[in-house]
C-alpha cells in the first residue's frame, strides 16, 4: 500500500467533483467501492472506460449515444413529424421517462444568455432550422425551461423558424400536479390564469 493512499485520495478528489457529492460523501463512496472491489469497483471502472471511449453526440439530434445516430433517431416509428426542442440531454431523458412524447428531439446544448455571452451561434439552432426544412417537420414543440433565458431562447427560435411556416408550440406553464396555490409564486399563478381552459 505504498502508493495506494495517494491514488485513493486522487479518486476521492475526482469523485467529490460529481454533482451531489462533497468530499465527505465521496470518501464514503470510495470506501464502499474498496470494500466491494470485485462486485462494484471493477465492473464500474470497466463500464466507465467503455462509455468514455464510445459515448458521443448523435449527429442529428445531439442526444448522447454510442453510435452516429441515437436509438430515437434510428427508430422510424418516431418520425411523427413532431420535433421537441430541449435545452440539454437531461431534459430529453426527463421527457422520455414521462413517456408522453413519441416524436423526435433536438438538443440545443444550452440557452441564450446575455450575461454569459451565449449567443445563437453557440447553440444548435442552425441545425434545428435545417432539420425542420429537410425532415418534413409539421410541429416544433419548445420544451425549454420557464426561466428568462429559457423563454428568450424560445422566442428567438420561434423567430428563426417563422419563415418556414412550421407550427411552433411550447409547453404549458401553470400549477404543477400536487401543487397548492398558496405556495406558488406570483409568476406561476399569473401564467396558470392566462393559460386557463374550459372545464
Amino acid at each position: 500500500m505504498t502508493q495506494a493512499p495517494g491514488d485513493i485520495e486522487r479518486l476521492i478528489e475526482l469523485m467529490a467533483r460529481l454533482p451531489g457529492l462533497g468530499p465527505r460523501s465521496a470518501r464514503r463512496a470510495v470506501l464502499m467501492m474498496l470494500k466491494k472491489r470485485g462486485a462494484v469497483m471493477a465492473p464500474l471502472a470497466q463500464v466507465m472506460a467503455e462509455v468514455a471511449a464510445s459515448a458521443r453526440d448523435c449527429v442529428r439530434c445531439g442526444n448522447i449515444t454510442g453510435a452516429d445516430l441515437c436509438d430515437i433517431c434510428r427508430d422510424e416509428r418516431r418520425a411523427t413529424g413532431e420535433l421537441c426542442v430541449v435545452e440539454d440531454v437531461a431534459d430529453l431523458w426527463a421527457l422520455e421517462r414521462a413517456g408522453a412524447f413519441r416524436g423526435r428531439y433536438h438538443v440545443l446544448g444550452g440557452v441564450l444568455s446575455a450575461l454569459d455571452s451565449v449567443g445563437p451561434d453557440d447553440l444548435r439552432i442552425p441545425q434545428l432550422a435545417r432539420r425542420v426544412r429537410d425532415e418534413g417537420i409539421a410541429e416544433v414543440i419548445l420544451a425549454l425551461n420557464a426561466t428568462v433565458d429559457g423563454q428568450t431562447t424560445a422566442h428567438y427560435i420561434a423567430d428563426v423558424l417563422a419563415p418556414s411556416g412550421v407550427q411552433v408550440t411550447s409547453l404549458a406553464q401553470g400549477v404543477p400536479i400536487g401543487g397548492e396555490l398558496d405556495y406558488l409564486d406570483d409568476g406561476t399563478i399569473g401564467a396558470a390564469l392566462r393559460a386557463r381552459r374550459r372545464f
Binding site: P19, G20, G22, L112, A114, L115, S117, G119, A146, T147, V148, Q151, T152, H155, Y156, A158, D159, Q173, D185, D186, G187, T188, G190, A191, R194
Partner: protein
C-alpha cells in the same frame, strides 16, 4: 458583522455549488451588489430568483469587502413578461446594460427609481421611447450625458438638427456646414418631443449605442455591447416585434 436591508431588482443569477446561488442585484441605496443566496437553487427559491424580480434584500457579511450572503423576500415578480417577446427582450437588455455599465457598490438612487419605472413599463405597450430615454439617463450616470439643449457651435437653442459623435452635444442646422456627413441626425425621440416613430427610435438607439460602446469600452474589454441590447435594437426596427406571442 456588516448588515443592511434594501430593495433591489435581480440582474443575474448563477448556480453556486449544489443548492446555493450567487445573485447580482441593482439596489436602491447600495447600487449593483453581489451576494450568495443559500438555497437559491432550490425549487422554492428558483422561481423567485428570475432576472427582473423585485426583492426585499438583507445582506450580511463579516467584513464589508466580503461578498456576503443575501436573504431574499419577493416583492414583485416580472415572470409575466416570459410570454411577451419584445418585453422580455427589453428586460434582458436593461439587465445586461446595468450589469456592464454600473460599477459595483456605487449607489445610484435616482437612476434606480428610473430603472424600476422602466421595468414596470415593460409590460405595457409604449415603453420603447422610455427605453431610449433610459439609455440617455444611463449615459449621464456613467458620466457622459448628452447635451441636447443648445448648439455646441453657436449656443443657439433653435433648429437643433444634429449630434456630434465626439462630444455628444447638439449642433444646429445652420452651424453644421461641411460637417453634416459626420454628424448624427438628431431624432425628436431624443428630445422627448412628439410621437416616436420606428425610424426616430432607430436613430436614437444608434446614437446612444455609439456613446455607450465608446464609454463602456474599458469595461467591455474590446467586446461589443451586450447581445441582448443588439437583439432588442433589431426587434424594435421590425414592425412585427410589437406583437405578443400568446
Amino acid at each position: 458583522m456588516m448588515e443592511w436591508r434594501d430593495e433591489g431588482v435581480l440582474l443575474s443569477v448563477r448556480r453556486h455549488g449544489e443548492s446555493a446561488a450567487i445573485i447580482e442585484v441593482f439596489t436602491a441605496a447600495h447600487g449593483r451588489h453581489m451576494g450568495v443566496v443559500r438555497g437559491g437553487a432550490s425549487r422554492k427559491l428558483a422561481p423567485v430568483l428570475q432576472p427582473g424580480a423585485q426583492l426585499d434584500l438583507t445582506w450580511r457579511a463579516r467584513l464589508d469587502g466580503h461578498m456576503g450572503a443575501f436573504t431574499v423576500e419577493p416583492i414583485r415578480s416580472r415572470t409575466g413578461l416570459l410570454g411577451d417577446r419584445l418585453g422580455l427582450a427589453g428586460l434582458n437588455a436593461v439587465c445586461a446594460l446595468l450589469h456592464v455599465a454600473l460599477p459595483e457598490r456605487e449607489p445610484h438612487p435616482g437612476f434606480w427609481q428610473v430603472s424600476i419605472a422602466l421595468f414596470d413599463a415593460l409590460s405595457g405597450p409604449d415603453w420603447p421611447a422610455a427605453y431610449l430615454r433610459w439609455e440617455m439617463r444611463l449615459l449621464e450616470e456613467i458620466g457622459f450625458g448628452l447635451d441636447l439643449t443648445r448648439c455646441a457651435v453657436t449656443g443657439s437653442r433653435e433648429d437643433l438638427a444634429y449630434v456630434s459623435p465626439k462630444t455628444g452635444r447638439a449642433v444646429s442646422r445652420a452651424a453644421a456646414g461641411d460637417w453634416v456627413g459626420r454628424l448624427f441626425p438628431l431624432p425628436l425621440a431624443l428630445l422627448g418631443q412628439g410621437p416616436t416613430s420606428a425610424e426616430d427610435l432607430a436613430r436614437g438607439l444608434a446614437i446612444t449605442g455609439h456613446f455607450l460602446s465608446r464609454e463602456l469600452a474599458l469595461m467591455l474589454g474590446g467586446r461589443p455591447l451586450p447581445e441582448a441590447r443588439t437583439r432588442l435594437q433589431e426587434m424594435l426596427l421590425q414592425p412585427v416585434s410589437f406583437t405578443k406571442r400568446e
